[in-house]
Every structure is written in structure tokens, then in C-alpha cells.
């Protein structure tokens, strides 16, 4: 078994596809149903990758070949449930998917919002143009139940936040969601979009998300993805951002929750002068594992990308970061910076960093760096010399480590939300100390 590069998935995946096709509750066109079948065939052909595949070297997902997660009917979430979630803010435009299905009664939309919302079940362009070499994207393409297209028309500036929640309600059976979302900004449009993946109970779940983002010329997007699933859950995320000329995206990729998380974030800088700022923060403890892959394609001249991914690890947790910055021929004046820093709070945790540059051009400025280390003794002593006890000093420095990336968020409310989520991470870590 160990020598195989992929394991054939069990039959239940096919059964789930058959059930979806037979039900066809959304009244899908035959073209769309055909897309599902094609995606499924691709998934079966690729199989579940083993750690012998370089891209999956640090993340073992082979148990997904056998383990059964089934879709659950949406229930158990009320407006009050949402009101009680600390990261739901009044005034947001809010789309709520429960068990992968959009809930109109939980959705909150300002009358005047310029955002156009449509269902991917009816949209003809729901199929990604370019199919990545990733079996879980294929699986999502086969089994997604509901999804939305968010269009922000050209020259529109959204003053409010758009918050899309994918919620797993509290239930004990292993459940699955294949979130699917497509965000498009027209020329010179501006928006703030937050996508939250959350589990409200502590039962096992699989969250297999695909997010597509297209920015037309001059569009500006602030994108936050917050993965706050539970400690029984598996998160597989795939985000594909395509940027036109002079567009800008600022992304915050936040992971604190799931037992296992794997996120692939790719950015295609397809227009001259496009820029991307990609920030990331992951916090893992116990035996949690997180694996973030980024791939930035500098395809046109004078684009810039800035990446800062930081990780905090405790107990026996493990993390991996694999970042590729690729400068294509002709992309002169490219400016790429990639930094990954990991803070180890215990002797048993482990972080692997693999920053990569592929440059097919002379006239570029690209830097990368990665560190894995513990808290700095001199900083600890400095704090202690002011009366702060060692545990509090460690806590303060660990939060400071996180703040170094979180402060880059302009949105102060979200900044506070993410800190609050980290609070529970540190509290849980401290309880055992």
C-alpha cells in the first residue's frame, strides 16, 4: 500500500453522486449533470493521493478513501444561532449555507446592495475553465449541492462587508459539505468578502471547499477565509484567484479549528500591474495538522505579490507551508516576496516550510524566507524583568507573533474576531500547562 501514489476511493462516493443525479432537486440541466459525472470520473481516475505524491508529502488524507461522510439535511440553525456567533456582525450582507445549501430565511441582504447573487445550479459558467490536478476539486465538482455566484458589477464599491458562512450544524454522524462559491468583481469594483467555514457541534465532518475569484481591471478585493471547524473535522480548501490589470487582492487565510486542514491558494496575476497581498495565520495544537500551499503566477509585467504566512504550533501539532512564486517569461518588473514563520510552543510539534521561486526572467525582484523557532529568550527575559510572569510573558509574545500578521487587516472588527478565536486557542493551550 505504501508504495502507491493513489488509492482508489470507496463506492460510497459513487452512491452519493447517483443519489444527487437521481434527485436533481435543483432541476439541473443535463449539461450540468454531465459536468458532475465528468468531475466524478476525474476524481476516480486520480484517486486519493498518498504521501508519495510530492504535493501531499506532509498531509496524509488516505483515510478519505474509506471513511464515509454523508450529506445531512439542513436543520438546527436559527437566526438566533447566527446572532450568537461572535463573528457575525450587524450590517453585513450575509449568505448562510447550512450543510451546503443556501438558506433564504437566514440570509440577510440590504435592499440597496449592488451585489448580484445567482445560483451556480442555474449558471452556465459554473464549471472552472482550467481543471487543476487535484482530486478533491474534482470531488467537489461532482458532489456540491448548492453554490452561489456573487457578482459585484463594474465601478460599484460595496460599503458593507459580504459574509458567506458555510455551517455544519450540530449532529453526531460524519457529515460532508462541498462548499462552492464564485466571486466576480467587475472593472474597478471594490468589495470586502469574508468566507467562514464553521462547525457548530463537535461531530466529525468533512469540508471540501472550492472558491473561485475573478477580478477585472482595477478591481479591489479584501478576502478573508476563516476556517474554524471543530477538532473532529477535515478541511480541504481550494482557492483560485484570477486577477486582471491593476487589480488588487488582499487575502487573509486563517486556520484554527480542524483536526486536519489543507488549503491550496493559487493566484494568477494575469494583467499588468496586478498585485496580491496574501497573509495567513494558522494555529494548531494537540495533534492538529495544517498544510498551506500557495502558488503565485506572475504572468504579466510589473505585478507584485507579498506573502506572509505565520503559524503557531503547540503540543504534537504539525504544519507545512509550501509556497511557489513563478515568474513567467516576459513578466519583467515582477516583485515577489514570500515569508513563512513558525512558532513552536512545545518540543513535540513540527513545522516544515518549503518556499520556492521559479524565475524565467532577469528583471525581477523576488525574495523568500522561512523560519521555524521557539520564543526568543531575550524577549521573554525583557518582559519578565518588568514583572510579567513567565506564563504571561509567553502568552504575550505568542499573541504578538500572531499580531504581526493580523495587524495587516484594515478591517478592525474582523481583526478583533480573529484575535478572539485565538484567545480560545491560547486558553485551551494554557489549561493543560
Amino acid at each position: 500500500m505504501k508504495r502507491l501514489r493513489a488509492i482508489p476511493p470507496a463506492r460510497h462516493y459513487g452512491e452519493q453522486l447517483d443519489a444527487l443525479l437521481a434527485q436533481n432537486s435543483a432541476g439541473e440541466t443535463s449539461a450540468l449533470q454531465k459536468q458532475r459525472q465528468t468531475a466524478y470520473d476525474r476524481f476516480m481516475a486520480q484517486g486519493i493521493p498518498t504521501r508519495r505524491v510530492e504535493a501531499w508529502k506532509y498531509t496524509d488524507v488516505t483515510r478519505l478513501a474509506e471513511e464515509v461522510f454523508r450529506p445531512v439535511d439542513p436543520a438546527g440553525i436559527t437566526p438566533q444561532t447566527l446572532a450568537d456567533l461572535p463573528y457575525c456582525h450587524d450590517g453585513d450582507e450575509r449568505l448562510v449555507f447550512v450543510e451546503g445549501i443556501l438558506q433564504p430565511d437566514l440570509t440577510q441582504r440590504p435592499d440597496t446592495s449592488p451585489l448580484k447573487l445567482s445560483s451556480l445550479s442555474s449558471a452556465s459558467e459554473s464549471a472552472p475553465q482550467e481543471v487543476p490536478d487535484n482530486p478533491f476539486v474534482a470531488l467537489n465538482g461532482a458532489l456540491w449541492r448548492d453554490g452561489s455566484m456573487l457578482d459585484i458589477p463594474a465601478n460599484q464599491k460595496l460599503d458593507h462587508r459580504v459574509h458567506v458562512l458555510f455551517l455544519h450544524a450540530a449532529h453526531s454522524d460524519p457529515s460532508v459539505i462541498h462548499p462552492r462559491l464564485h466571486v466576480r468583481l467587475g472593472a474597478h469594483a471594490e468589495a470586502r468578502v469574508v468566507v467562514t467555514y464553521a462547525a457548530l457541534g463537535d461531530g466529525p465532518c468533512l469540508n471540501n471547499a472550492v472558491l473561485d475569484v475573478d477580478l477585472a481591471e482595477g478591481a479591489q478585493l479584501s478576502l478573508v477565509q476563516a476556517q474554524v471547524l471543530n477538532e473532529q473535522s477535515t478541511h480541504l480548501g481550494f482557492t483560485r484567484i484570477t486577477q486582471g490589470r491593476d487589480s488588487h487582492v488582499a487575502s487573509m487565510d486563517f486556520h484554527a479549528g480542524s483536526a486536519l486542514a489543507r488549503h491550496d491558494l493559487t493566484v494568477a496575476l494575469d494583467g499588468e500591474g496586478a498585485s496580491a497581498t496574501l497573509n495567513g495565520l494558522y494555529a494548531v495544537r494537540d495533534r492538529q495538522h495544517v498544510d498551506c500551499h500557495t502558488g503565485i503566477e506572475h504572468r504579466q509585467p510589473n505585478c507584485s505579490s507579498r506573502q506572509l504566512y505565520k503559524g503557531i504550533l503547540n503540543d504534537r501539532a504539525t504544519a507545512a507551508f509550501d509556497g511557489l512564486v513563478r515568474v513567467h517569461p516576459g513578466a519583467s518588473g515582477s516583485d515577489g516576496e514570500q515569508v513563512n514563520r513558525n512558532l513552536l510552543l512545545s518540543n513535540d510539534c513540527q513545522a516544515n516550510a518549503k518556499p520556492r521561486l521559479e524565475i524565467a526572467n532577469d528583471d525581477v525582484r523576488c525574495t523568500h524566507g522561512a523560519t521555524v523557532g521557539q520564543l526568543n529568550d531575550q524577549e521573554l527575559f525583557y518582559l519578565e524583568s518588568r514583572g510579567i510572569d513567565p506564563a504571561a510573558a509567553r502568552d504575550m509574545l505568542s499573541r504578538g507573533f500572531a499580531e504581526e500578521v493580523l495587524y495587516r487587516m484594515d478591517d478592525k472588527a474582523l481583526h478583533a474576531d480573529l484575535h478572539a478565536i485565538l484567545d480560545s486557542f491560547f486558553e485551551a493551550s494554557n489549561e493543560r500547562d
Binding site: D377, L383, E384, S385, R386, G387, I388, R399, F401
Partner: protein
């Protein structure tokens, strides 16, 4: 207040640096400890503050807390700070991601708690800070910046004195606070230190040069050489060292 007897110390597993220090500091006094490079000045300051890189190999240090002498060497670094010992670092440490205000308030409240006082709320603390900032000529923009991060040399030294002003220690040890300061900063910092000196606290200024002593007249001056205090006198000793050099002290000793 502070009574050091035959103190010997070294960097962990290194050669002995302090070879028998005797020093008495009383409330209300300002002491200057001078000495050439490598004489052990900074080592003494770090040993008193409880730096983990150093180990004491002999001698005693008593520090009076509520008129009761306590064994300072038995306390952890943070306990010493809570008891009223403050070290102004020669090279203040940069702490990314932690704002000056958050850091100072945590320190202030830790000391309040240790001394049985109620913690201060953010609003009252801001007022306290405003008053102390004025004392050392810093503007409020320092407060929201991460501790010492990208501060100039002079700003870092001022920030040390700001912390000293806020934490109101009973014994302040200033390790080469005058180094790296331009003339104006030196004057401001010295004025600040002078204003903070009261009959109830004491200051131990560690310095290589006499620069700071031109602004602050110490009550007692010690010369440290090769791990021992070789000469003690009044402020004229500092002037003599400045004009005649350490060799003169060595010969006189």
C-alpha cells in the same frame, strides 16, 4: 535597601566575571558604578535583574521589601521586578506585535497585583501614561507602536526611562543608559531620571563615561575593575576618572 556581599557570578558555564562584589545602597541615594569595558558592570546589572544566562557562584544579595531584607537571588526575574527592582537595558529588546501600551499596562498590573493593589483600567492608565510621557519628552505615538520595534537608539533609551517612570521601582539600575544618546536626548533622559529620584527609592547608574554624571550628581561613585569594586568615593571620583583614566585608579588601588 540593597546589600551585596562577596558576590561572584559568571555566564553559565563560562569564566567568572564578578569576583567578589560588596556594595550597599540606601534609600534616597544615587550611585554611579564606573569601570572599563569588560570589568563586569553589565554582568552585575543582569545578575541583579535575574538574567537566566548568568549564574551566581557565591555571595549574597539582600533587598529590602517593606523593611524586611529578602534574598534577592532566590527570586525569579519577574518576582524581583514586582519587589521593586528595575533594569534599564543597555540594549532594549524589540518585541514585535506587542504594543507599548499593552506591554506597560501588563507590567504595571502585574506589579500592582504582587503588591496587593487593584489593577488599573485602560482609561486611567492612559492618563498615567500621558503624565509620564511628558516627563521624558515622548509623544503619544510611541504608545501604539510595538515595543522598541524600529525605534532609534535614543528612542529605545527613552522608552526604558518611560517604563521606569510608569513602574516606579524602588531600585533602578541604569545600564549604560547614556550610551548612544545624542546631546538633547541625554539631557532629557537625565532630567527624567533626576525627577524620578525620591527619598524612598535608589538609583544605580552603570556607565563607562562620565557623560550622564554631568547632568546627575551621584552621591557615591564606585569604580569596578576586573570583577571587584576597587575604589569608592564621592562625585569627585568620577571627575578624577574622567581626567586621569582608569589606569590611575588601578595604580592607586
Amino acid at each position: 535597601m540593597l546589600k551585596i556581599r562577596d558576590l561572584k557570578a559568571r555566564v553559565v558555564d563560562g569564566p567568572e566575571i564578578l569576583k567578589g562584589i560588596d556594595l550597599d545602597v540606601k534609600a534616597g541615594e544615587i550611585h554611579a558604578l564606573m569601570g572599563p569595558n569588560g570589568s563586569g558592570k553589565s554582568t552585575l546589572s543582569r545578575v541583579l535583574a535575574g538574567h537566566p544566562d548568568y549564574e551566581v557562584t557565591g555571595g549574597t544579595v539582600e533587598f529590602e521589601v517593606d523593611r524586611e531584607p529578602q534574598n534577592l537571588l532566590a527570586m525569579e526575574a519577574h518576582e524581583r521586578a514586582c519587589a521593586g527592582v528595575f533594569l534599564a537595558f543597555q540594549y532594549p529588546v524589540e518585541v514585535a506585535g506587542v504594543s507599548n501600551t499593552v506591554f506597560l499596562r501588563a507590567a504595571f498590573n502585574a506589579i500592582c497585583k504582587a503588591q496587593g493593589a487593584a489593577p488599573i483600567d485602560a482609561f486611567d492608565f492612559r492618563e498615567l501614561l500621558a503624565e509620564k510621557l511628558e516627563l521624558i519628552g515622548m509623544d503619544a505615538s510611541y504608545l501604539e507602536r510595538p515595543v522598541n520595534l524600529d525605534f532609534s537608539g535614543g528612542e529605545k533609551k527613552r522608552n526604558e526611562i518611560l517604563q521606569m517612570a510608569v513602574l516606579a521601582p524602588r531600585l533602578a539600575i541604569l545600564d549604560e543608559t547614556d550610551s548612544g544618546l545624542d546631546v538633547d536626548s541625554l539631557r532629557i533622559v537625565s532630567e527624567g531620571v533626576k525627577k524620578l529620584s525620591t527619598p524612598d527609592n535608589a538609583t544605580l547608574m552603570i556607565t563607562h563615561y562620565q557623560r550622564m554624571l554631568q547632568h546627575i550628581t551621584p552621591d557615591i561613585v564606585h569604580v569596578l575593575m576586573d570583577g571587584r569594586i576597587v575604589k569608592t568615593g564621592d562625585h569627585t571620583l568620577a571627575e578624577a576618572v574622567e581626567t586621569r583614566g582608569y589606569d590611575w585608579v588601578r595604580e592607586a588601588a
